[in-house]
Each structure stands twice: as structure tokens, then as C-alpha cells.
Symmetry: C2
Subunit: 319 residues, 2 copies
């Protein structure tokens, strides 16, 4: 490609109005930096993630689905802090200038950007093995962010939505990479629980999004809060689709360790139970109480009143 190739490509696929959402920019992409105004009283929340072809997604997936998956996964980190999305940057590494891929990728990004109100502020395209790094920037009223370290003894432990669907969806996609069924969609277009995260401000004592698997992610809350917990495996929320497609033992394994569901797991004083139920009904979003925070360190899984030893290495392995 000509020297102008990168700039033409960036302009065509990434300087589209569809990638600009509600939050304005003082200066958008196209200069050395973007310039952004943060409203006063707000704290920035930032997070960055890389998704590598063959590790985090199937390289043969439609480009729009790859884009959706990447941006939604990053938005989920904002949700877990109770933050409101504002801007993101995209570092896209591509083996070649594949216009079909770029068009699909740009369309997928645009769809998510419009839906969740986030604008592309800048980034970089480079040649190399397919991988995508996205950094999201949001904000949250100063001092009101949800953190991982505030869980208290006796708090209820909740999860949003259903667990294990994304892992089930990945299995579907491995059979048919263009599958657009319910489970496949839960893998490539997970729902960042942004409204829930904002609602949880000043209510939840700790929160995290489920990327590595419920057990690992609850473990992060407990470790940072220096406490333990019991979970009731019979309470794990399993979708009807997963329940009909997968044997019971496998449902449980996917729900506990599948990861990538990008649901929120949060701890809350028991006094909030009624409000949680109301909110869940209003929003038609399952919020399931799956356990309790305890003084005794470690994570215990219970079934029919029997504690089980926690099996090791049930989570997603990055390395």
C-alpha cells in the first residue's frame, strides 16, 4: 500500500460520524492527541484490554462480531466501577489492509458506540498479527465509584443476568463461526451492565465484572476485601437455553468458571434486598442472590447443605 494508506484507511473507517456519540470532544481524532473536557466533580475511570485472535476470539468470526465483543468487554469494566462511558481509543493490528474486515469492524464498533454512548477519540492501525487493544474512558461522581475492596461480613453476593452463556456460545461458534443464536450472541455481544453499575453507586459495597469466571472474580473481591464467602451452587442463574442444551454438571462448570459473561457480581448489605428485587423487576434483569460474605477466608461452594472443596484452576487462564 502507498504511504497514504494508513491515513486514508483511518479516515474512511474510523472518522465516521457513527463512531461519535453523545459525549462531545473538544478535538476528535486526526491530530497528535484528542482533546477532551471532563465535567467538574467527576473522576475519570479508565481501563484497557487487548483481545488477540485465537486467544480471545475466533479469527474467522465476522469482523462486526469481533468489534462488538472487544468494545463491550471494555465497557463492562466501566460498568463494574459504576462509571458512565465517554470515549475510547482503538489500537488495531491487522495482517493486511482487508477492506471487508475494516468495514465490518467499523460497523460493529459503531453499533456498540451508538447503543452505549461512547465516542472514538483516537488510536492507531498497524500491520501485524490480528489483535485489538481498546482503552475506555468514563467518569463517575468523585468518591462514588464501585471498588472491589469494600465487601463486609454478612453482605449478600449477587450476580446479574445468567452465567455460563458466553462459554456455551463459544462452543456454538466453534462449530459454526457465523452462528447468531442466543448463546453465540452472549459471547460476541455481551451486555455491559452500565445502568446497573450506576444504580449500584452508594448501595453495593464491592463490585466486579465477570471476565475470568465467577469463582476467580468473586475471589478478587474477597482477596481485596480480606474476607471469605459461601456460594450456593444450586442458586446459580442458568438461562433456559443453556439449561436445555447442556447437561447439568456442565451448566454448573460453565457458570462457575466459564468466564466472559461480563455480568456484574456485587456485594450488598442485606437491608437492600427489597430494593434489589424491585429494580430487577423494573429492569427485567435477573439479579440473583448466590451467597454471602463471611469472616472465614476462602471460598466455599455449598450444595444441599454440604460444603465442597473449591477445585483449583477453574478460571480462565491468560497465560
Amino acid at each position: 500500500m502507498s504511504a497514504a494508506g494508513e491515513f486514508d484507511l483511518i479516515r474512511r473507517y474510523f472518522h465516521r460520524p457513527q463512531l461519535q456519540s453523545a459525549t462531545p470532544m473538544a478535538l476528535g481524532p486526526g491530530d497528535d492527541c484528542a482533546l477532551l473536557d471532563v465535567p467538574s466533580g467527576q473522576q475519570l475511570a479508565i481501563s484497557a484490554d487487548t483481545l488477540v485472535a485465537g486467544v480471545h476470539f475466533l479469527p474467522e468470526m465476522p469482523a462486526a462480531h469481533i468489534a462488538q465483543r472487544c468494545l463491550c468487554a471494555n465497557l463492562s469494566d466501566l460498568a463494574a466501577m459504576g462509571a458512565k462511558p465517554a470515549w475510547f481509543t482503538l489500537c488495531l493490528t491487522l495482517p493486511a489492509n482487508d477492506e471487508t474486515f475494516l468495514q465490518g469492524f467499523s460497523d460493529g464498533l459503531a453499533q456498540v458506540a451508538q447503543r452505549y454512548g461512547i465516542s472514538l477519540a483516537g488510536g492507531d492501525t498497524t500491520r501485524g498479527p490480528l489483535s485489538i487493544s481498546i482503552q475506555v474512558i468514563g467518569w463517575v461522581p468523585q468518591g462514588h465509584a464501585l471498588q472491589r475492596n469494600g465487601a463486609q461480613i454478612g453482605d449478600d453476593i449477587y450476580v446479574s443476568g445468567y452465567l455460563g452463556d458466553a462459554a456455551g456460545g463459544l462452543a456454538c461458534l466453534q462449530e459454526n463461526v457465523t452462528d447468531t443464536g442466543y448463546l453465540a450472541q452472549r459471547f460476541y455481544a455481551p451486555t455491559p451492565r452500565l445502568e446497573l453499575g450506576q444504580w449500584l453507586q452508594d448501595k453495593a459495597t464491592a463490585a466486579i465484572d465477570i471476565s475470568d469466571g465467577l469463582l476467580q472474580d468473586v475471589g478478587h473481591i474477597l482477596q481485596q476485601s480480606r474476607l471469605g464467602a459461601s456460594l450456593d451452587v444450586t442458586q446459580l442463574p442458568i438461562s433456559q437455553t443453556l439449561a436445555t442444551q447442556v447437561p447439568l454438571a456442565e451448566q454448573e462448570r460453565l457458570a462457575l468458571a466459564g468466564g466472559e459473561d461480563f455480568e456484574l457480581c456485587f456485594t450488598m448489605p442485606q437491608s437492600w434486598r427489597a430494593q434489589v428485587q424491585d429494580y430487577s423487576k423494573q429492569q427485567q434483569l435477573p439479579l440473583t442472590r448466590i451467597g454471602q460474605v463471611e469472616a472465614l477466608s476462602g471460598l466455599r461452594l455449598w450444595r444441599d447443605g454440604q460444603a465442597e472443596v473449591l477445585p483449583e484452576n477453574l478460571g480462565w487462564q491468560h497465560f
Copy 2:
């Protein structure tokens, strides 16, 4: 590696106090997001870049040098906006958990972070072909950022430092990847011209950092300012080292098109000439007047009063 591998690795190599600099964080790495306070009256400046092994650096280079190169290149984008560095995020993709590499990489990052006052706020480590995406966040007093689009007819065009050294250094490193001579250093540890960028606020009419090569980068200023320019190739600042190691024609080619020097190129009304000279002396930083902005579109290269046609494709090719 065990499931805990990524978290141990992140803690050991990236949660080091050496990677925390002057600018405090409300909440540093280790949660879903970092939380950051932006001083009032300041605008955020953000930029992101990916460096891929074999494309942007030699994979066999010492890890500390790879880290320096990546972070300095990103800081240079802040310099080109006149912004002050605050935080960065790091997405590191590695083929394997190589502790020697990680230690060296972390040390290289820490050295640059301390020197230029930037703190690591978060990021991600993943398995895959070696590549590094860094996003830098800085700030600049609201409305005072340097942009590319403000050049005026008659403005002088300046560059800082010397041109072509980084390209010369890359050639040295291709012969000996552990070379630490002057030219090699200009490749792996370029100097982001942060103080110069801040000094240029309210003086320069346009600025850019030289990453793609002088001709391409001047071209960006001219394109965004909708003007043309003449450059005097006999005025290109060439270091003594490059001048003694490389034939004249090659010096010129490297200075015009080598790229990756991360010097600043800026335009300024002629009335600032005396102040530029004074600043250059005080800082012992060459600031060389190499041309002038003109109404006639296009970029003309002059030598001894003769205009030459601008050869095509003299810049760095991303794709």
C-alpha cells in the same frame, strides 16, 4: 502457568512504586478501572499507539530498550500538543511468560516514567505475538493545546534537535542489536520534547511530532492548515555523528523521510525569531528554521535556489 499467573505477573512487574510518578491516582491499577482526578481548567490530551515486533522495533532488542522506545514515542504525542504527561495504560502481548523480558521491560518503563513524570494506571497482559499498545493521558490548559491546523502564510517552519538519527540508529541496531552508541540511543530512547511543547503554547501556530518522516509530517500540518510550504534542504539539522557515518545524499534522505526521530516540527510567526533563538540557547536544544509556510499548496524542496519536485512515498509506510 497457573490461573493466578497473570495476576502475579502484573503485581510483580507492573505494580512497582518505580512506575508511579509525580501525578497521584485516586485509585491505581488492580481494580476494574483506575480512578483519576483531572485538575480543573485542564483539558485531557490522549493518544494511543501500538508497536509491533519486527515492524516498529527489532524483537531481539533488549527489553528495557523496547519499553523505552514505546513509552517515549507515546509521550512525544503529548509533547506535540503542548501537554503535560500524567498517566498511561499498557497492553502488553507476549508469546510466553518470560521473566527476564518482563524485568527488563518493567525497568525500561520505570526509567522513562520517572524521568518524564508519568504513572502507570492500568492495562492488560495477554498471550500472543509480541506487541505493545500504550495509551498516554496528559493535560493542557483549556484552549491552549498545539494543533496541526493553525499554520499561517509567512510562518517560519522549525524542527527541534537533529533529523535522521533514529533511522541511522536503526541501521546500527540491525548490525548489532545491543548497540548503545549515540545513533542507536536516538532510536530506542528518543527524547519526547515535552518542555518545548509546553513552551510553544500560545507561540506556535501548529505543531506535530516527527514520527512518519519530516516530509509526511510537515504534509499533515499543511493539509490540515490548507496551505503549502517551501523547505531548504541545505538547512536540515544533521548531527555530527550522522554526518561522519553516512554519505551526504543518504543523510538528506534519512532527515527527510527516515521518521521516528520524535522531534517537534512547528510553525511560528516570524516575530518570534529572537525568542526562539534565546530559548534554544538556554535549553541547549537546536531549533532550526528549515522553511516557510506559503499560500501555494504543495511542498517544495529547495537547494541552492532550485526547487525540486517532491518525490513520492518518502515517508514511513504503516501498511
